[in-house]
Amino acid sequence: MGKRKLAALEKVDADLVSLQYKIRRDPKSYAQEFYDQWLAYDAQRQIFISSPSTASTDDLKKFHDLVDLIAHVADLYPDLTGAYPDHLKELLNQHHAVLHPELREKVVGSLVLLRRKDVIDSTSLLTTLFPILISTPSKTLRSLLYAKIISDLRESNSKSTNHRLNRTIQTVLHNLVTSDRTSTKGMWATRITRELWRRQVWSDAKPCDVMKEACLGDNEKVVVGGVKFFLGGDKSREEFEDESSGDDVDLKRVKHQSGINKKSKKRQKAYEKAIDKVKKQDRKKSAPHPLNFSALHLLHDPQGFAEQLFQKHLQNTKNKFSLDNKLLILQLVTRLVGLHKLTIISLYSWFVRFLTPKQAQVTSFLASLAQATHDLVPPDAIEPLVVKIANEFVSEASASEVAAAGINSIREIAIRQPLCMTETLLQDLVLYQRSKDKGVVMAAKGLQSLYREVYPELLQKKYRGKEATMGLRSGETRQRKFGEEDVGGIEGIELLEQYKEEQKAKKLAEQEGLPEGDEGKKKLDDEDDDGFHSDEWEVGSTDSESSGGWIDVESDGEDDVPAKKRQKTGSEAPQLVDGDKENVVAEANGISTLAMTSILTPADLLKLQELRREARVDQALGNRSKRKKELIDRHIDEGVTAEDIELPATLGKKSTKEERVALAKDGKPGRDEHKSTQAIRKSKKEAEGKSSTNKEKARKKNFLMTVGKARAKTKRSLTDTTKALRQHVARSKNGGRRRNDAPP
């Protein structure tokens, strides 16, 4: 039987892809054709639904294609296809377990497509996909649904935050976690929340609440998911931000290429796109940093949360979580305690059991203990722990690593609560700087230098050092009592005051034509009351007339704490170090009166910021002790890790040969086989798509091609040689290039 010839129109029509194309071009004219396919779809759907599990591959294929077609053009015929989204949802809900994988994927994809075409809204899409995500046994379907859910949430939050949708989904997730605390289904809630937090789609308190509930669940996986979120969610968010801004385009290179390559619309477009991207990145760089609170700060009722977490997972002896996971939970609890200065007294007595060198991962426990200490913890609660650490870890008989870790952890605790130490114990520990092991020595010295600053009375006189002794004598270094807080103030206000006075003196000196000196100062004091200069308004608006009177009143009432903006302390360093010179000066003279007597203008604040920065640079250059710098550098948000505790033990240890070899190899080209450096360079060049350098080409040039020139060179006359040399010099002056118009 010969092949039957098809009519041209029929041949083209007989495929759904071209029909789809035509429908999209001209929906009105092809309404009838679409309706035919809609009916065919309906028939296929019924065939499929009558026996979903035993449908033949032929039927599946047809159904798949029709679903695809209709999803692509459904937005053009809203009246005819009104029931279509419901069909798909029903199909997915009822038969997702038996659907053929390809068809299943197509149905999910079609639903997402309908969402993109705004035929259905996000809420209905997500509420369809979500129950399937948590109930389906198929891994591929789960990963598909997860990806689609995340991308849809991102998409609908891309232009502006879709609060309504977010609220709905967050409520769904919250219910999922709280409804059945023993099931693993809560995993999906934690995964979705974590991903959206990482992408900064969600950054408010509600997702933190979901994670909080996850932490308080009974299922180990869910709990760990929640705990990891609090411990590492913010870090991963920052990393993700860095990553996404990292892929910048080399504009110079693109420009260069566009000058060389053939000009085409595509290349032009690519160039414009690159420029756009660079501009966008520049804008992003100059834009103010979005205010993102860390998850730990957004927690509602941290005290209750930490207590519950501690009681449920740690104190409860029936809990069967693995040690690693328990440590994670412990880290979270102690982080919360340290960050929010919570009080959980039973936590410290709970620690006692674990503070022996034989305990697995004991450094993590020590780090957690240090983390859980803050200046509002009663010293009575910590003292026994410090004594226990000293007894168990620090002795001549114990291994040097153990002793170093013990002393270091005591130091970490003492940084946060110096009152936890007794005199005899400290003096005993400080004596370990006579040890033979470098790690132990360093740890003991660290402890000593800490106490030189915070509580020198506890040290023996010979270990106090010069500064601490002098400070003690002059009364500058002073022991703080339990619970004592710094009096708040504006940081660096005295710098501003000083600056202003200097400026005033300068102005006066200029006006009077007098050199700046004693006389000028006197004048300044005299004139201080009556005169203000018009240009001073730019910097400060000191109402000097009233200022004199006010000063008297304020300086009399020492205990009267002025109402002013609270200093933002706590984020920088614990406030136990108050040996700052400025503070002492301020305290001696009474607190700076500038902020009480005048209103600071924006210009003032700018200047203040600048002065503060300068002061900090000064301190960083060496006017400040190492300890304080360390305290400032360490952000309280980061917490203490086991590595911090183990650090001194690694000092003075010789590295192994492998480590040294790895260190030497670092940053050098890889040599899988024996090869010369030249060959490696060449292969690298080739991998980049480049051939060879000009130098290499010159070197490889055929001898016969160069020999003529070389021979001619030897036969040149003197003038020719001079000319050539002159040209060479001239060439090197203007860029080393031969121009077309250059004389031969």
Binding site: E10, S29, Y35, Q37, A40, Q46, S56
Partner: protein, 338 residues
């Protein structure tokens, strides 16, 4: 120049003897086979089918599968003709039953090959009608799918299958769930007499011809045929029920005997999904007439009038349809005057 040089060199390389080096492994031979992989299963590319014909049941099943799934048209066609001869033999040799044959072969209604479709129809015709009747609903689904297929050839061939089905099970066709309204919907869409498309697009547009006659070579014939089959369908739907002779035992049979028909309580729809208007059963003539009046009468009559004016084969077919309508709706309401 450079590249051709390189190519020359590469060509030459084939004829050089490989240099052996101390401390290095020998070069792999050209026909070296890598056997270092592991696999859980082995796929054999070619397989032989062992069919010595001794087991006729197995052979029948094998052929059935071939007919349903084989890629080449010829194989499918030959398998179909084999099944046809087996089923039409005296006594018929059908070890798997009509139901399985239908389930396997129904998707072939919209097969791409014209000869396969022809052979399928031939096979349908030799199937025993009494065994086809219980499966009418399923067959109608495929037929409706074929009636609105993209390809005009498949559409017209599906009409043949429809005609056959009306012959063997006309009553069941019009009374099964979805059999009446959905099939009418497909017919009107096929003919382009559909009211819902125009309303969906908000405007009728000025080029809304009956699209079926456009483009195809035998347009008028195809349309005439569609109208003819529609007329037959309507005839089947409006056929007056034969009054069963009085049976004194019917009352008691109804109560105590097992029903003789398949799925006698289908109209209750106890187990299926809830049906909408289109999917509903219209088991008797009165209900069919009523719903036809409400939904389809105006558009079909309108389309018919247009077709009549066309004259020729289409006109003649339209006259047939007119007759069927008049006969069917005689007792419901008067048709509009000509």
């Amino acid at each position: 120049m450079g590249s051709s040089n390189r190519k020359k060199k590469e060509k030459k390389k084939d004829f050089h003897k490989a240099k052996l080096k101390v401390g290095k492994a020998n070069a792999k031979a050209a026909n070296f086979t890598d056997t270092s992989f592991k696999s859980k299963s082995i796929n054999v590319n070619q397989q032989t089918l062992e069919g010595d014909g001794s087991d006729s049941v197995e052979q029948f099943k094998q052929t059935l599968t071939t007919a349903a799934t084989a890629k080449p048209d010829n194989l499918r066609r030959d398998a179909l003709s084999y099944i046809t001869t087996q089923v039409s033999a005296k006594p018929p040799n059908n070890p798997v039953g009509t139901a399985s044959v239908l389930t396997k072969l129904l998707p072939l209604i919209s097969d791409v090959s014209i000869s396969v479709r022809a052979h399928l129809l031939r096979l349908f015709r030799v199937l025993p009608p009494s065994e086809v009747r219980p499966h009418v609903e399923k067959m109608l689904m495929y037929i409706r799918g074929g009636m609105t297929h993209l390809s005009a050839d498949i559409r017209s061939d599906t009409l043949n299958a429809m005609e056959w089905l009306l012959d063997v099970a006309g009553d069941e066709v019009v009374s099964c769930p979805g059999g009446w309204l959905k099939t009418l919907n497909s017919f009107s869409s096929m003919l382009g007499w559909n009211p819902s498309v125009g309303s969906a697009m908000n405007s009728q547009g000025w080029t809304s011809g009956s699209k079926s006659t456009l483009g195809t070579k035998k347009g008028p014939e195809a349309q005439a045929r569609q109208i003819q089959v529609l007329a037959r369908f309507l005839q089947a739907g409006f056929q007056p029920e034969t009054v069963a002779p009085y049976n004194p035992k019917a009352y008691w049979d109804n109560i105590y005997r097992l029903p003789a028909t398949a799925n006698p309580f289908a109209y209750l729809n106890l187990f299926g999904a809830p049906r909408d208007e289109d999917n509903e059963m219209y088991p008797d003539r009165i209900s069919r007439q009523r719903v036809f009046d409400a939904k389809w009468r105006s558009s079909i009559v309108g389309g018919m009038e247009g077709a009549k004016k066309e004259g020729g084969t289409v006109g003649r077919a339209a006259a047939l349809l007119d007759k069927a309508l008049r006969g069917g709706l005689r007792d419901s309401a008067p048709l509009p005057a000509r």
